[in-house]
Amino acid sequence: MCNGGSNAMADNNSSRADALGVSPGEVEQFRGYLMRYALLQLRDQTSAEDVVQETLLAAVEGGDRFSGKSTVKTWLTGILKHKIIDQVRRQSREQPLLQGEDDERSEADVIDGLFKADGHWQNFPANWGDPGNALENKRFWETFETCARLMPVKTARVFMMREVMELSTEEICKELDITATNCWVMLHRARLSLRECLETKWFGRV
């Protein structure tokens, strides 16, 4: 598909059509976006910087060719995604999802703590008003980052694969070697912890 034939694409966007990657300036403007993406998933500054650097290099050197069929941003995200998945595989080899029982138990407690024995909420979710207003507030995003960092490690890994990388449950199961049920339980836990944190640190206060 990406055979590098230059004339095939010449009619459309000729500056990119040589299929030898794109200019450093052109990819550089996406560094912030790629960093946020990598950091949410990997939760480690150094590994995030590494994968983003590798991605930008691959793009500029044309190791992964831009076909002109998508936007530059989508194409960069695709390269980054592959590099992140390699990292995630490494992480889960070092910290397998279904091992480390203390960890697992304390993460499971997240849900138990939110409900009474009869299944009712300990504290009913509050009214957040129009949460859309928060999106314009710089300080809300700092809270969001804090809450993302506070999520338990393994829970966060699954959540970000779903919400940031937009993988399906099946893909996540395959990558992490867990069952679908397991996956749904972890996503449930992740969402309720994030909700709890945002409510305590932000929406409960406004």
Partner: protein, 79 residues
Amino acid sequence: MLGNKVVRKSVRLFMHIPTCRETSALLSQTQDRKLTLFERVGLRLHLVVCTGCRQLERQLAFMRSAVKRYLERDDHPPR
């Protein structure tokens, strides 16, 4: 005949209206898979009577869009 079936199913459903805890799990899974008909009906029945879970429903939708918005933000990356 159809009526009978519906009644029988409804009875079964009424005996299985999910708790808040179960409802929160169903609301979460709505974002990951297609719920079965029974799950969907149970979920709706619970939401009719529970303000807390209705808030949760709205909050989950907000959180999903917030992650996307966070990525798209147009300023320097976090430290």
